[in-house]
């Protein structure tokens, strides 16, 4: 298990991470979300030993993370880091060897991942000759080739087409099924919602919320969806109610503590035939917006 406790990092006068704590268990995918500068990349770099944090601790299986542990961590940085003039297969095998894999096994495993990620036939190409998406696949292969116990992926889905996103999602699920712990960051909240077992929302270096998706959903604001046949503007007479949106699917109204939902229903019925009336729980997007805007 990866455990980050009270992590603190500052660059000049700017505090990048402020007493941040989170944990990632084996076989679990944890998503880090937050706007730019929230502290996601700094946290991941600290885990990978690229920065030595000014405060806090990072442990793996109960002991402080050492270089020998990081040899079993797979890492995909936000900005891709590959040798542009190196052949694809050689590059993946090279990084495998740096993580302690023997030459023959490194080349065999590199070939296996190239095939699995749809890059068969590109083994002898220079990395620079590949498209952005394919370079991203090579970067992923570099992170996966030595069967890591922890995967740290910074924006792994950025710039990928839908089929590549599906392919990467499938790979991540397969890796967690093998027992790998996965920590990844993304701005694509729908993906995070779909893939992650737990989510950590960051802002200005601090954890705003964390938990499983169900736990977070309970904190998400509730909304009332009402569809009245033939009437588009029946909400004009509603007093003290926040209308979130209006569209052909109906009207979304924010549910606030002490709100009389039955009174709203009565007004809707007075306006016309009520085709739909029900409470909805907002998703991660709503929770994120609510937390970050506050």
């Amino acid at each position: 298990m990866l455990e980050i406790s009270e992590l603190y990092q500052r660059f000049g006068d700017r505090v990048a991470v402020d007493k941040l704590s989170l944990a990632v268990n084996g076989g679990e995918i944890v998503g880090l979300v937050g706007r730019n500068g929230a502290g996601k990349t700094t946290t991941m770099r600290a885990v990978m030993g690229i920065y030595r944090p000014l405060g806090g601790s990072i442990t793996w299986s109960g002991h402080p993370v050492a270089l020998s542990d990081r040899l079993r961590f797979g890492y995909m940085p936000e900005e891709r880091g590959l040798y542009p003039q190196m052949r694809v297969l050689d590059q993946i095998a090279y990084f495998a060897r740096l993580h302690g894999v023997e030459l023959a096994a490194a080349r065999r495993d590199a070939q296996k991942w190239l095939t699995r990620l749809g890059l068969e036939g590109r083994e002898l190409d220079l990395v620079v000759a590949l498209s952005h998406g394919n370079q991203q696949r090579v970067q992923l292969a570099v992170a996966l080739v030595y069967q890591p116990e922890l995967l740290v992926l910074d924006e792994p889905f950025a710039g990928l087409d839908p089929s590549a996103v599906d392919s990467l999602s499938e790979v991540l699920r397969a890796e967690t099924a093998r027992g790998t712990a996965v920590l990844f960051s993304s701005h694509q909240l729908d993906l995070v919602e779909r893939l992650c077992d737990r989510v950590v929302i960051l802002d200005q270096g601090k954890v705003l919320a964390s938990g499983t998706l169900d736990e977070l959903r309970t904190r998400s604001p509730q909304r009332l969806r009402i569809k009245v046949a033939g009437s588009a503007d029946w909400t004009a007479n509603l007093k003290g109610v926040e209308v979130i949106s209006k569209d052909p699917l109906g009207v979304l109204i924010a549910v606030t503590p002490g709100m009389d939902t039955q009174a709203v229903l009565r007004q809707a019925m007075a306006a016309g035939l009520v085709e739909e009336f029900g409470l909805e729980t907002g998703g991660l997007v709503e929770l994120y917006r609510q937390l970050v805007s506050n």
Binding site: I50, L71, Y75, P77, G81, M86
Partner: protein, 413 residues
């Protein structure tokens, strides 16, 4: 995966990348072909020195022909003599022309001279006087030989006419055995040693510059492409830097060895008289100072490469090392000119100048037996200090974003 294994892998990748790159082969090809051409070219195209053509004007001068040729031979200069009928013809033969065959054209050289004169000098003897005539300039050695012969013949004639027997005259004109004693013998072949020192200095200047810059560029590339970030997750900054320095250094050493080996083979084949034997005597010193100098500079260049924000900044951030390299190169000329000057001896112990000055001092100066080990010890200590300093700068700068760091900022972080 221990440190040594990491360094070996990183160095191996550097070597492999350079072996696959065209630049390496082009550079090796150019330096090798250049070195071979420098040795083979002059040997193939070097024409034997043309003997001086001396025109003897009139019967009196013409009787001196055998004596002149013997004197020239004794003085180590080549000479041919040609009989010229009168002064006007001699002047014509002394004047350079655009086409051959003007003048008498009697000598074997007339067909070779093309646009130059048939004669280098003309000698006329009259009663009581002699004239040495030339067009614009004459070799001082040739003039001295002519003057000596004319004076000798004149003395003999005067003494013979005064009744002195020819045997006595001959004995008087034969010099006694003259011995020379040199108080401070010069080097056996000072010119050769100077050429050797110059060759060593130029070779070291270019190889240290090329491969030092290669280290800085390689580090900058890893930084700007963010590859360093992935690498540092698996290796320490110190191992990464050392692996790069070792890999590029081995390639540099191999490229230099190929160039030197090609030059050695070419020299063995053509037996060039232009290559002094001292060049080969200096080889161990060249290789030693390449290894030491490269290691010192390469760590500095690695730190410089880690400080850039863009690849184009490599040259400007490496400027302090380039200044020392160029400074050492220029001081090498002063060292060759006066190798034992006190300030040169002191400068040759300044670590960044050592690779340029020590081989030059070894080649042309007086280097005490303890000086080289002392210089090597100072250099090793400097390399250790530079590696530690560069390691610190490298570790803090390599993954740092933002604009280029100044040296002061990098050192104080």
């Amino acid at each position: 995966m221990n440190s040594l294994q990491s360094i070996r892998l990183i160095a191996g990748r550097e070597i492999s990348e350079r072996l696959h790159g065209r630049a390496t082969w082009i550079l090796t090809g150019i330096t090798t072909v250049g070195a071979v051409a420098l040795i083979v070219g002059p040997t193939l195209f070097n024409m034997p020195t043309k003997p001086y053509a001396v025109g003897l004007v009139g019967p009196s001068a013409q009787t001196l022909a055998p004596t002149l040729r013997a004197a020239a031979k004794a003085s180590g200069i080549g000479m041919t003599t040609m009989n010229v009928s009168d002064d006007a013809t001699a002047r014509s033969e002394l004047t350079p022309t655009q086409t051959s065959g003007l003048g008498s054209g009697q000598g074997p050289l007339s067909s070779l001279r093309g646009g130059s004169a048939t004669l280098d000098v003309a000698l006329t003897l009259d009663t009581g006087s002699a004239t040495i005539e030339f067009y614009q300039a004459v070799s001082p050695t040739l003039a001295a030989v002519l003057r000596a012969v004319v004076e000798e013949v004149h003395q003999r004639d005067v003494l013979t006419q005064a009744g002195v027997s020819p045997s006595v005259v001959g004995a008087a004109q034969t010099p006694e055995q003259i011995s020379t004693v040199t108080l401070k013998p010069a080097s056996s072949d000072l010119a050769g040693r100077r050429i050797a020192a110059l060759a060593a200095g130029i070779l070291l200047f270019f190889t240290l510059g090329i491969f030092g810059t290669a280290v800085a560029s390689g580090v900058a590339q890893e930084k700007t492409s963010r590859t360093a970030e992935v690498l540092l997750a698996a290796v320490t900054p110190r191992d990464l830097m050392t692996g790069k320095v070792v890999g590029i250094g081995l390639m540099g050493f191999a490229q230099m060895a190929v160039t030197i080996a090609a030059a050695l083979v070419a020299n063995a084949i053509v037996q060039s008289s232009l290559v002094p034997s001292e060049v080969w005597v200096l080889l161990p010193a060249i290789l030693l100072w390449f290894v030491l100098g490269y290691t010192l500079f390469a760590f500095g260049y690695a730190a410089a490469g880690a400080m850039v924000a863009r690849q184009e900044e490599v040259q400007s951030v490496s400027a302090p090392f380039t200044v020392f390299l160029v400074g050492g190169y220029l001081l090498m000329y002063a060292t060759i000119a006066s190798p034992d000057a006190p300030w040169i001896r002191i400068a040759s112990y300044v670590p960044p100048l050592m690779p340029a000055l020590m081989p030059a001092r070894l080649a042309v100066g007086q280097v005490a037996i303890w000086e080289t080990p002392l210089a090597v010890l100072i250099m090793l200590a400097s390399i250790y200090g530079m590696a530690r300093l560069a390691g610190r700068i490298y570790a803090t700068s390599l993954v740092r974003g933002g604009p280029r760091l100044s040296w002061l900022a990098a050192l104080t972080r």
